[in-house]
């Protein structure tokens, strides 16, 4: 296939399908027989990055498992918009039990498969930030600590969007939510850094931890492939902008994800056994304003008195860039 000139846009991270590539290099989504594990007809909002990410994650995992994947899902948007009885948008065998227990349910499935000698079937658990970093943290930590053979995927939209946009411990400081209103002396979420689940996962020294965004779906796909090629507890954390919760237009979800990466706010990395092995270097650094200004949840930062909050964000980006060496190429 060397006779075909492949433009950068078709091979780089900005390309989605890659239909001009060799078959084996194409993404799952560009294939006519893609699994469509999260199929059409569900009730996700327009511009929902969680639905986009889940489709890519699931289709890749289904393909990597040879169609033998069982999924445990936490309560949350993803569950609610996909499985209102008597309909289901899921093609793989899929179970929803509770908000806080997706990781433990997945452990149970993996244990049963081991007892049955079914080492051909793989297990994936998924949930939002609330079900992962807040109410489900103990179960996720337990699953990590036991190194159960489960890939856990967190779709982080930084708040309780399903219940009407309340603060979670993944909500970043200064963000306006229904329970951290943008009024008073310290408008928006007053404390925290947005609890870093990837760092918590790395502290468990599990075989694989990675972060990704919907701005780079090929990267997301390749991380799912890497995770599925391994056994034991694996964790994937995906930033998923939420137009409703963030106060953005549906068309901005991808651009905001990119701005989060390029400003240093959301480090994209891979870690093995607790050690970072790769980071995505910032390609063209942008100011945090590019990420913050389009979001109505940060509107108060751009009014008189908002400078302090903006500085807080710049400090956060600087700290990330320094800590994760985001301006250096991966060694």
């Amino acid at each position: 296939m060397t006779t075909v000139h492949i433009p950068f846009m078709q091979t780089g991270t900005l390309a989605v399908g890659g239909r001009l590539l060799d078959l084996e290099e194409r993404s799952v989504q560009s294939q006519a027989d893609r699994p469509s594990s999260l199929t059409k007809g569900h009730r996700a909002c327009q511009g929902c990055a969680e639905a986009l990410a889940a489709r890519w994650v699931m289709d890749t995992a289904v393909e990597e498992s040879g169609g033998k994947l069982i999924v445990a899902n936490a309560t949350g948007c993803l569950e609610v918009f996909s499985t209102l009885y008597p309909e289901s948008a899921w093609k793989p065998p899929w179970i929803h039990s509770l908000f806080a227990n997706a990781a433990a349910v997945a452990t149970g499935i993996a244990s049963a498969l081991r007892a049955q000698g079914r080492d051909d079937v793989r297990v994936l658990a998924q949930g939002g930030d609330g079900g992962t970093v807040d109410i489900g943290l103990a179960a996720v930590s337990g699953m990590f600590e036991r190194n159960d053979d489960v890939l856990y995927v967190c779709y982080d939209n930084q708040g309780y969007m399903n219940t009407g946009v309340q603060r979670s411990s993944a909500t970043p400081p200064t963000a306006r939510t229904a329970t951290t209103p943008a009024v008073g002396k310290a408008p928006g979420a007053p404390y925290g850094q947005g609890k870093s689940m990837p760092k918590i996962a790395m502290a468990h020294e599990i075989p694989y931890v990675a972060t990704a965004t919907v701005a780079d779906l090929r990267d997301l796909e390749s991380k799912v492939r890497t995770a599925m090629s391994m056994h034991g507890a694996r964790y994937l954390h995906v930033l998923v902008p939420c137009p409703v919760g963030w106060g953005t237009s549906a068309a901005q979800s991808i651009a905001l994800s990119r701005a989060a990466v390029e400003s240093g706010i959301f480090p994209v990395l891979e870690a093995r056994d607790g050690e970072i092995v790769a980071t995505h270097p910032i390609r063209e650094r942008v100011d945090v304003e590019e990420y913050l200004r389009p979001q109505a949840r940060f509107a108060h930062l751009f009014k008189p008195g908002g400078e302090e909050g903006l500085e807080r964000w710049r400090a956060l980006a600087e700290a990330n860039i320094r800590r994760f060496r985001l301006t250096e190429a991966t060694p």
Binding site: G67, T83, Y85, P93, W94, G108, A139, R146
Partner: protein
């Protein structure tokens, strides 16, 4: 083989011989000896093709059980007290999804004040969770009930609690004949889940049901519960036939004279005081009533074997024409009466029975046969109030006024 065994060891052996695929538990007194024994057996090879999973909480213990049962493996767990409450959300969830998990509840009080000793507050708090609740009166029945519980639960697609008094049974040594693995293999069918997470036949389990379908879902769950009475009776009868001893069933009847357990014991008569209880206190009641019967007193004993589904018809049949009822209750509905009393009252409504609630043995307070004899004698004499606390210590605790425990009828 008859041997002297601690109750927990007998239960662990019976569970292991039922060949669970996954055992998952979090330790809590007085359940610990059961799960310690099972974890050991999973390593020594006595328990094969079984995953023993150590978890970080009871909530995860039940959640792992949900996953493994949904994935088609016979699943067992055990807990007590605070642990049962800590997993409460998942307890309801397992029942709603129709997963036939079997769980031993080593009955223990609920704090505050924290108390590790026996009463029935824990399983009573879960009485509406949609689980079968089978109560053991001794260690033999505790072991046998686990075999019956797997059979019943898996036929119905419904989880089952086997309730045994913490310490009183779990830590007491007694002569027990644990059914052999061969006998259980012949008795208990292999687990064939009604639905499961299967990559060959994918299904979505645990969807969201709106107002247009939720009532029907609960109605069907209730109807299945009503079927459960027949299924429990049927498996218990098959068990008695195969193993030559009674276990389980809906209601335990006792011979009027010998006080031995007897399925063919006649119903109580109009001039009998009928004492109703469940769990190990039935043994104490046997001891308390036998000399009273020998002295000519008209007292009968009825045990509740299946608390859920509540055996309304079987209880009415056993109570017969008796209208003077004493319920020995091991759990309290604060502000009302004993929990079992409420259920008995519901079952006997319309019979004109006078029902006395005797709250006894809370938080491990020993229940003395002599105290029971005295209470029953007062019931015979027409001198027992509607609600009494057995052996309530005088001094420091104000005695309830008559108005607090009596209602007009």
């Amino acid at each position: 083989m008859r041997e002297v065994l601690e109750g927990s060891q007998a239960v662990a052996m019976a569970v292991a011989r039922c060949r669970p695929g996954v055992v998952c538990a979090y330790p809590i007194s007085p359940q610990t000896h059961i799960v310690e024994a099972l974890s050991r057996m999973s390593r020594t090879g006595e328990l094969t093709d079984c995953e023993y999973v150590n978890v970080e909480s009871e909530f995860s213990a039940m959640s792992v059980s949900i996953g493994s049962s949904a994935a088609g493996s016979r699943t067992y767990t055990a807990t007590a007290s605070q642990g049962l409450l800590y997993m409460a959300e998942a307890v309801y969830n397992a029942a709603g999804m129709g997963l036939p998990i079997v769980m031993t509840v080593a009955n223990r009080a609920i704090g505050a004040p924290i108390n590790i000793w026996n009463d029935h507050s824990d399983s009573m708090a879960m009485r509406d969770a949609g689980w079968l609740q089978l109560f053991a009166m001794d260690n033999q029945e505790a072991a046998d009930l686990h075999v019956i519980a797997f059979a019943v639960a898996e036929e119905l697609g419904m989880p089952a609690m086997v309730c045994m008094d913490g310490f009183v049974l779990t830590h007491a040594s007694d002569v027990v004949d644990v059914p052999s693995a061969e006998d259980i293999d012949a008795f208990l069918p292999p687990f064939r889940p009604l639905q499961s997470l299967d990559v060959e036949n994918p299904a979505t389990i645990g969807t969201m049901a709106g107002p247009e379908s939720f009532t029907e879902t609960k109605y069907l769950q209730h109807m299945r519960f009503l079927d459960a009475a027949d299924v429990i009776a049927s498996w218990s009868a098959r068990f008695a036939e195969r193993f030559g001893r009674e276990a389980g069933g809906l209601v335990a009847r006792f011979d009027p004279d010998t006080l031995d357990r007897s399925a063919t014991a006649p119903p109580a008569k109009w001039d009998d005081v009928t004492v109703i209880a469940m769990g190990s206190v039935l043994g104490t009641l046997q001891a308390a009533i036998e000399p009273m019967r020998a002295a000519g007193a008209h007292v009968r004993l009825v045990g509740i074997s299946a608390f859920r589904p509540f055996p309304t018809q079987a209880l009415r049949d056993a109570v017969g024409a008796s209208r003077n009822i004493v319920v020995v209750d091991r759990a309290l509905e604060l502000g009302a009466q004993g929990v079992l009393t409420s259920c008995v009252g519901g079952a006997l409504v319309g019979t004109g029975s006078r029902i006395h609630s005797v709250v006894a043995g809370l938080g491990g307070r020993p229940i003395l046969a002599s105290s029971l004899t005295a209470v029953i004698q007062r019931a015979i004499d027409g001198d027992l109030r509607r609600l009494e606390f057995l052996d309530l210590k005088e001094g420091g605790v104000p005695a309830p006024s008559l108005g607090a425990t009596e209602v007009s009828r």
